[in-house]
């Protein structure tokens, strides 16, 4: 049996999946946070006509709340239960990053589409270009999972992690929020022209940038005490 990246990444994903299936804490928390946020927003705007701007902003706020609230646990849980050193001994840093990020993407995509469906159902807001909303949410889930996995590794060994998570995540996520809201506005209002797709393209470019750089940043911090 020889070591290769595919096997290593699959092993990390399988470990995450197995852990999640047996204690269900992260998925449950993500779903509860998302559903609560969507219900709150739906109650706040009950009976009012939402604009594309407002709908896109609220949808992304719910996504961020769920994502940052739960995915930052990725490495904190390892350090809290003392198993981080096992991964450091057994796996190469890039395999750990990709395994954790891909698993987080699955979780985030699942939560994201659940949030979007619930949001559309409860607010009754119409989507002029559903494909654009789908593509931008998919890209947003990928970028969020890649960024938050890195943030989780950065804060995992620090003290006062809650504050640190916000401080580290904010500058990394602000460009994504701006691009995601722009894409969402175009999708809700039907600006399916080339300028309408610019926001979605921006989300995907940001995703590419995250996955081109984050594994290297992760490798640099993974062994620091």
């Amino acid at each position: 049996m020889s070591s290769n990246w595919g096997n290593e990444i699959r092993a990390v994903i399988r470990k995450e999946l197995c852990t999640e299936m047996r204690n269900k804490s992260a998925t449950f928390t993500a779903v509860m946070l998302s559903v609560t946020t969507v219900f709150t927003l739906a109650f706040a705007f009950y009976g009012r006509q939402l604009t594309g701007d407002g709908a896109a902003g609220m949808l992304w706020a719910a996504l961020l709340f769920a994502g940052v609230g739960t995915l930052t646990r990725a490495f904190i849980a390892e350090e809290e239960q003392g198993t981080g050193d096992l991964l450091r001994m057994w796996a190469r840093p890039h395999a750990v990053y990709w395994g954790k990020a891909i698993f987080a993407f699955g979780q985030m995509a699942l939560t994201g589409f659940l949030v979007a469906a619930l949001f559309l159902l409860l607010t009754g807001v119409g989507v002029a270009t559903p494909l654009m909303l789908f593509v931008s949410l998919l890209g947003g889930a990928a970028a969020l999972s890649g960024t938050v996995t890195l943030v989780s590794a950065m804060i995992a060994r620090g003290s006062n992690r809650g504050t640190l998570a916000g401080v580290v995540a904010l500058p990394l996520l602000l460009p994504l929020i701006a691009l995601g809201v722009t894409a969402g506005r175009s999708a809700f209002e039907g600006l399916a022209t080339s300028s309408g797709w610019a926001g979605t393209a921006g989300v995907w470019l940001y995703t590419l940038l995250v996955f081109a750089t984050a594994p290297y940043q992760f490798a640099a911090i993974w062994r620091e005490p």
Binding site: R10, C18, Q81, D85, L86, M89
Partner: protein, 192 residues
């Protein structure tokens, strides 16, 4: 095989050790002694590649995943993974054969193969960590407080594990247990 040159580690302004030179070959067994807080565990973590040095260099096998086996008292196991799943996960990540049945028999843990990590006692966890450390038959094995938490049979098991591999393996044992001096070819006292 494994060694260091001018190795030093400090936390804040306090140096645990400095200017350390070591060179270990197969058949060597270095016993690292010292009082609590002297830096024994830290030295093993440096050799394992878990933490970086403050100064100096460490020479270790090219691929530490299969080149170094490490078991430590303060190491945890995954609470929801079974003993067998730990060995399968480690094997998949390292690219070696799991050898679960063979290893569990060697460390006396066959009966607990399907126990999840959270149901293991301190001694059972120690045995699992030994199995994980020797899984890839690495040329370098690091044991931090190997006898801690083990009963007499467990300590005898460690003796067998070391004797079976000592011709082709370099061992570093961090300990306060004088009984483990019987394995040593070299000794290093930290905190002097």
């Amino acid at each position: 095989m494994i060694g260091c040159e001018q190795l030093g580690k400090r936390y804040g302004t306090r140096w645990l050790f400095r200017h350390l030179d070591l060179d270990l070959q197969p058949g060597d067994c270095l016993l690292v002694l010292g009082s609590n807080g002297a830096g024994k565990s830290t030295l093993l973590k440096l050799f394992a590649g878990i933490i970086p040095a403050s100064e100096g260099t460490v020479q270790r096998p090219a691929d530490p995943r299969t080149g170094i086996g490490y078991a430590a008292l303060d190491q945890s196991v995954y609470p929801v993974l079974t003993v067998r799943e730990h060995l399968e996960l480690a094997a998949e990540l390292r690219g070696c054969a799991p050898r679960a049945d063979e290893l569990l028999e060697e460390v006396g843990l066959s009966y607990a193969a399907e126990f999840p990590g959270r149901h293991l006692s301190t001694g059972m966890r120690a045995r699992l960590k030994f199995a994980l450390a020797i899984q890839a038959e690495p040329p370098v094995i690091l044991f931090d407080e190997p006898g801690a938490g083990l009963d007499a049979a467990g300590r005898a098991m460690i003796g067998k594990v070391i004797e079976k591999r000592r011709a082709k393996t370099a061992f570093i044992l961090a300990t306060n247990d004088p009984e483990e001096r019987r394995f040593a070819t070299h000794e290093l006292e930290l905190g002097e």
